[in-house]
Symmetry: C2
């Protein structure tokens, strides 16, 4: 299969357009039917595939970094009487199971990024629904702060996946219905079994949309709502964005080489080494210096590269089962960069950089590959980079080296980079011993292997005699375990503690969807998804599970 | 397939024995190898199947009703150096997907009942692990309050499912490791990929067990821990249990007839009508009257019957997709019985009856069948029986009948019957409007259809002109939807709001397990579960999802 490139920019968009008017941006969805990422389907009725979602993710991210003056984003369609018919069914039906699952995961991450932009960056989204709004189309609207639906006797919102295709809405729809919009669950039941959806007053009464307006007043109402969001926003202090330049990346068959990240894939062993280089030089200590560094500032550049690498691994290297996380550089320097960034956190750009790192680390948590961190001589697992070790399923730290291998904690480990469950990775790690977190954060010096072991920061601390064998055997064994069982185990162990709408989407909803995406009733030869749009009727195994 | 009977009693046990010594009971697990519920497998090494778990569920329930004097229950093995090897693999490998899923669901409900007995009834469990304790064997131990492991150089606890069989521990093991026992997640990762498990001091250090003791001190330590639990319990007030007599039940192919519950199955339409009859006569107003009524008291009898009916439907009527919940009787009388029970709630028996009803309603919530409640003339959806309507995915109430159809709320709707998410069904229903719950509970009169609609208590209120068609079409349509998509939809919508260890076990863990139980890597011709114990090595699709 063709390699999938997850990097894009507005000049290269085929499906989206961004326009700007003061503090209001408009994101126009106008999907090119013949612009599918893979052959074999037409993106009719503004239905989307991964290519569209890559543009959407890019647009949301650029709005935050390049247009901090924007307070309201109107998401509308470039087509008449069609908002979006959702994910393209023929694309889904013709995709492999891993591709379907990773496609849904990526679209979910993108919708959550919209909600994070609203909550954390003050960029609020309005979905201007001018017509057909079905499945993933309505799920996109659900991720907005407000939904305005045209009232023309036919436009309706719908989640027809279950009754029409025998699958679930795969982008958080059911969870957002009852947990975000708090639609009464019996109404949600009715709604999500109604192919034709719900329109007009009932859509408002049931909480499915925020308002319905006649076509004649539609544009004016949307603009008015956008202005209201802008007026409610804090005063604009004349912020100027920074440009997100293309990544300096060389992507070949088994290597991804960026400036701060290098991924080396071993297809035989089904492993990939992810090497992250720490910063060089001095950190930007002032707002001016940070803005001048722009997208070249180490934290942002490293996060963007790691994020791209994770997407590459998910889509283009499906059989890699284990990521071996490594770092190289000076741990004290990582902490110095972290401290400088944390000190500037009131500035919008510093905040956005931290949020980008947060999203990237969440993407790592959610990547269905086993994660081992190897803390070796020359490494710099400190501060923001120690989060990699905390995100790992386990970690190995070399004991007794000269000079000793060290790890360290800093201001970014204290809660600025929470997981999807709302807790920091340290809090999640020490759920049974919360006082430990404070002790660790108060320990200002670096930890050698013995101390790291004592404080519980790493899993194993083999010495030089044992290291090679112990680590090699662990890697070989892990990469040889049945892949599905590892996915299920990791999904259960990584997200301990509290659950949030986010973890419910990825844990509960995604797991059920994965199950259904595997069931003969959906994807078998006579399954509903397989036979969609064909003359033959699906056949079912009626046994309930 | 042979019909499965979920009712048993100690005289009929084949695998368990209960002994009593003052306030300490001992539950001895001594599984008969040739006592499997189905042919084709031997229950070696104290491995279990559904038949064993039905006995376990019965024992836990009887301890609560028949032996309120018991404060500590020691769970031990009747076999030398073997605690339990968990669920029988050959049984799982030879079972259908729906059976595997329902088996795991039932065992999970039983483990949660153990934990509820500890938390709510003061009957604390000690797992006395004398040897092999693997998979479901360790998961049973995890459900206890304390785990004592023998330290003999070989006895270990283990969750070998993922590395050995390519599936997950299916009875809450992963969730209890990290969320109940709060084992550090990297250690949980190591532990659950280690076929041989962990023994001795490390098992204590990692929090996998509470203590390890040499074989010579094993029995004495277990007894000492049991005594300590008894001493920490509130003073025994000389409580005498009630007998749980056999249900008065007639179970034929398409009908289950109990005293207060009748289930009529329509295999063609794939529906079952579940009719619950309200109480007759006067409620037991005193502790003495309640004890005298014993298991014949309406609430307890009805709950036991409904519980049995749900198990029958799950195991013996797999293709029934929709349960139509109905009631018949006097709503005021239901409320009178509820009020009497709530007034006596300080008494242990009243408490146990309420808890049994709570567990039964949770079993309903967790039953993977669509649930419609029909509120018709002559019905008594009030108080405890209104919980059936609240548990339903949707409800229809006839408007305009003469005399009007009425529903009502009472003291049992206010929080004594919480769902797995910890909220009452009313709170879950009105998650977006919490003040509504109070308003409804303060409304002392019954509600007619119009009022019920206005307060949001029911989904639809068709009048007599529309009722027949509207209800018939809704039922036909629902029973015709793809079964898996309904299961996934309902699992997402029913458990909105907060998540608990319980909802995580049923939502996150179960959904992942269902997925894996469907994957070719586990159950395909060359899957790990299929080929377990055979000469052929499994083959895998290494693509990660």
């Amino acid at each position: 299969m063709k390699t999938i490139d997850c990097e894009t920019n507005p000049g290269a968009y085929r499906h989206l357009r961004l326009t700007f008017d003061g503090a209001v941006a408009t994101l126009i969805i106008d999907i090119q039917e013949d612009g599918g990422l893979k052959p074999g389907y037409q993106l009719k009725l503004n239905s989307y595939d991964l290519g569209v979602d890559i543009e959407l993710a890019d647009a949301i991210e650029r709005l935050r970094f390049e247009h901090p003056e924007i307070k309201a984003v109107v998401v509308r369609s470039g087509k008449d009487r069609i908002f979006s018919a959702g994910a393209n069914i023929y694309m889904l039906a013709s995709s492999s199971h891993p591709y379907k699952v990773n496609f849904c995961k990526f679209t979910n991450e993108t919708r959550l990024a919209m909600e994070e932009a609203s909550r954390e960056s003050g960029q609020h989204y309005i979905a201007a629904v001018n017509g057909i709004c079905s499945g993933g189309g309505y799920e996109l609207a659900l991720a907005a702060d407000e939904i305005v639906l045209v009232d023309d006797g036919s436009a309706a919102v719908a989640l027809p996946e279950a009754p029409l295709l025998g699958v679930l809405p795969g982008t958080g729809g059911l969870t957002r219905l009852v947990d975000k919009r708090k639609v009464r669950r019996d109404r949600a039941d009715v709604f999500s079994t109604l192919v034709e959806g719900i329109k007009g007053k009932r859509a408002v009464e049931w909480g499915l949309v925020d308002r319905v307006v006649p076509r004649s007043q539609f544009d004016a109402t949307v603009q008015e709502r956008a202005r209201a969001l802008v007026e409610a926003a804090p005063n604009d202090s004349g912020e100027k964005g920074i440009e997100l330049k293309p990544l300096d990346a060389e992507r070949t068959e088994n290597r991804l080489v960026y400036r701060h990240v290098t991924v080396t894939i071993d297809p035989e062993r089904r492993t990939a080494e992810v090497m992250v280089r720490g910063p060089e030089g001095e950190p930007p200590e002032t707002v001016e210096a940070l803005h001048k560094a722009g997208c070249d500032s180490w934290t942002l550049a490293m996060a963007r590269e790691l994020d791209d690498a994770l997407c590459q691994l998910r889509f283009n290297h499906e059989t890699v089962g284990l990521l071996i996380l490594k770092t190289t550089g000076d741990p004290e320097r990582v902490l110095a960069f972290d401290r400088a960034l944390a000190r500037l956190a009131d500035n919008w750009l510093a905040r956005e950089i931290i949020l980008k790192l947060r999203r990237t680390l969440k993407r790592l948590d959610l990547t269905a590959r086993s994660l081992f961190a190897l803390v070796e001589p020359g490494s710099c697992f400190a501060g923001s980079l120690f989060e990699l070790a905390l995100a790992a399923d386990r970690s190995y730290m070399l004991d007794g080296a000269e000079p000793p291998v060290m790890v360290g904690l800093g201001p970014l480990n204290g809660g600025l980079l929470p997981m999807s469950n709302g807790l920091s990775r340290l809090e999640t790690r020490f759920l049974g011993d919360p006082t430990r977190v404070q002790q660790i954060l108060e320990h200002k010096e670096l930890f050698d292997a013995e101390e790291a072991d004592e404080y519980g920061l790493v899993t194993f601390v083999p010495d030089e005699l044992d290291w090679d064998d112990e680590v090699r055997i662990a890697i070989e064994e892990r990469a040889g375990f049945w892949p599905d069982a590892m996915t299920g185990t990791e999904a259960s162990l990584r997200f301990r503690g509290p659950e949030s709408m986010e973890t419910k989407i990825f844990g509960r909803l995604t797991a059920w969807q994965n199950w259904i995406f595997q069931r003969p009733n959906a994807v078998g030869e006579k399954g509903a998804l397989t036979l969609y749009g064909k003359q033959t009727l699906p056949e079912f195994d009626w046994r309930k599970t």
